[in-house]
Symmetry: C2
Subunit: 486 residues, 2 copies
Amino acid sequence: MTSSPTDDSPDAARPLSPPPAVVLELIQQQRDSYLNRLFELLRIPSVSADPAFSQDVYRAAKWMATTFEGMGLKTQFLKTSTHPIVLAESPHVPDAPTVLVYGHFDVQPADPLDEWISPPYDPTIRDGNIYARGATDDKGQMLTHVFSTEAWLKSHGKLPLNLKFLIEGEEESGSVALAELMAGKYNDQLGCPVEEKLACDVVVISDSSQFGPGYPAITYGLRGIISFELTLFGPKQDLHSGTFGGAVANPVNALMRVMAAFQDDYGKVLIPGFYDDVQELSDTERQQWQALPFSDDDFMHQVGVPATFGEPGYSTIERCWSRPTMDINGISGGYQGEGGKTIVPAKASAKFTCRLVPRQDPNKIAAAVKQLVQVRVPQMFRYQLKVGHAAAGIVVPLDSPFMLAAADAIEVGFGKPPVLIRSGGSIPIVSQFKDRLGADTLLLGWGQNDDNTHSPNEKFSVEDFHRGIVSSAALWQALADHAARH
Amino acid sequence: MTSSPTDDSPDAARPLSPPPAVVLELIQQQRDSYLNRLFELLRIPSVSADPAFSQDVYRAAKWMATTFEGMGLKTQFLKTSTHPIVLAESPHVPDAPTVLVYGHFDVQPADPLDEWISPPYDPTIRDGNIYARGATDDKGQMLTHVFSTEAWLKSHGKLPLNLKFLIEGEEESGSVALAELMAGKYNDQLGCPVEEKLACDVVVISDSSQFGPGYPAITYGLRGIISFELTLFGPKQDLHSGTFGGAVANPVNALMRVMAAFQDDYGKVLIPGFYDDVQELSDTERQQWQALPFSDDDFMHQVGVPATFGEPGYSTIERCWSRPTMDINGISGGYQGEGGKTIVPAKASAKFTCRLVPRQDPNKIAAAVKQLVQVRVPQMFRYQLKVGHAAAGIVVPLDSPFMLAAADAIEVGFGKPPVLIRSGGSIPIVSQFKDRLGADTLLLGWGQNDDNTHSPNEKFSVEDFHRGIVSSAALWQALADHAARH
């Protein structure tokens, strides 16, 4: 783990043993076969959000289950209230760690179809990239762990650790069934409590990106999230603003004043107590991030803004990865069509979310928002504040044995050590794994930021796919070795 | 004019002569005939907003022209870029005032059709009311002046003054052709400049309501209006609020802060200089309005709010009729569907209007809004502020001879003197008549507030229709008498 230019202390524990040569040889031999099998899965339009594709989601689940069974894993096909979930377990290895691999076989809708250069469900290789819906998110990345496991079992006869796979079909549309699974609803089908079924030492997810081309990465932190929707109710129906204006309180006017109390012009959030539990970055992290190849100019060009923005005293990366936010995601109220309509609207609403950083308690933030809204909404308005799902921010300790193992494995697969990054996004299942299973998650993204996830012409580099399989094969060895040392 | 309980000074000029008995007798005889002829016009679905009905608007225009010609008026049928305009002039009476009657023969769409008890274009009398689209707005009210004129000419042989009719077919959809007419575009068809064609001493419009049942009214004041649309542009497209939130300025957040600077929680508008030219009510007006039968409880019940609202120190009527406002009519930005979408939106906009009172200059207000927006929008946003059409507020002097004449005429028609009211709404053509023709407008509403204008089951009381015709006949006499005295 030598990503940081300031971290040049010798690591007495290194080097670890690489995976057996037979495993790596088989992976090399199977390159084309792995591609063909990925293509099989990519041809299934498993769009979970659209009921028209529910049979395809089911087919993709069956494809997964058949694949796991063919590898000799103990496989369970969970029927749920929505889409199936597939579970698989490798043969038990005593005195070895247990790793839970999470992934998903469903995909985002492919619209707008006419922007695809090649059809979304007809995978095509151009310029070294696989183009298809789901290529990187998440079929391609998820299968790296499946194929590496198969390679271990086929060539070496056994794994150095215990693997559990939890592959869902609804990640792109709310993970309803997964939430039910975690809540114990399918314990009967599982044959035991879900906590026991999924018990593990660490979780591995490959559903994100490298820092950039040539910069493989481990994402060791995520922001949390809490979402709100505030609606102010005024007159019982839209009123003529000539007849009634000035004598009836306008809920849109009032909403502006309420929401203006949430943030200043410089990006600082004004919710009382919002920053109380926020931990400042360590000098080490700050220095590591400063060493990353990042340009504010490129960032501004990418998003199309004339200036950077955010809390004074922080860099763009620091603002994105380590500072909490309040963003209004949408507003609605009154007449929104062409031209004008002179009304006092009946109601107004704002959907907004706070991104949270580790140690901020979503419940405490929700209470502070409730209090602020109560104080700020003028008395004559009836209002409703909905609090949506919440997830706490996450950081995995940089010195955990799992982190060290992942860094070693990536060096084997990519030929260079990973950079250590965080993400500003939120992956609620990661906090659930922490809360319910007590396990940290390794976020090992094999993709690139420009892979067009959720957009037309989604792609995944053939080379990154192959490196991901090698890194995964090395990861099983490295995790076993590191665990043995502890 | 004895509407005010505090105005008990004897009026030396009164009483004026009523119209000749033969005129009133003919109006009485023709009651059923007038109803039948109104029904003819109501059966034409002259919806100006919907191109599917444009032939019907044309038919209604022809009906008007034929009616005027049948009365012996010099009639012009103007072909315009949109719907026709019908002009008519009575035979010239020397040394008598000239009155311009404005009205419209087009109607609002009848949707939703299934809420009509009887079909909108099949006029039906129930409980003393005529039910049909256009019954009160404006076919019924406009025809009172046509029929009174006809009655004068038929029974008495001549009018006591000069009448000009300007009847348009596009009032419910923007009055495009009327604006063109006023701008001189149809001077060739007119045969003279529009200012000469429409030159008059006073304008009469019956397209509004009495204060309430048993309270005939003259509306002597209107608020003006100026409209704006402010759009803030952020990133070039919606961004993931996890990846980018905190480092990209959110245009919705910023719009809230900008618009919050326009009004305080108590209804006071904070645009700098906004109240500079606002004239406080006279004690007389304030006392007259206090004497009107008005209940805050009824008002709150009508609009469905738990409390009255507005600038401290003013009554509800004062706020509606005599105070300027800033109401946001609609807001838009980001995700507005079900559930949530975690984005930093690309843009945000607010449509808002200020109602203005007499002496406030719309141009000055527009300049102040531009200045406030410029100061308040953070520098990193590109923004667009559109300024829409404007109209100044209007008051007709309470002691003008035209006002006195109208009060007398209403007393003849309704058996009691009118109350003197203002309206919070804006009628842009009234300010244009003032600006271009130098003429004040008498707003003589024969309708009721609950006549369902623009809604299903529009109605007009048979009795109010008849009283309107009598009042109009009396008005021609009273205006001639009052002018003679000056």
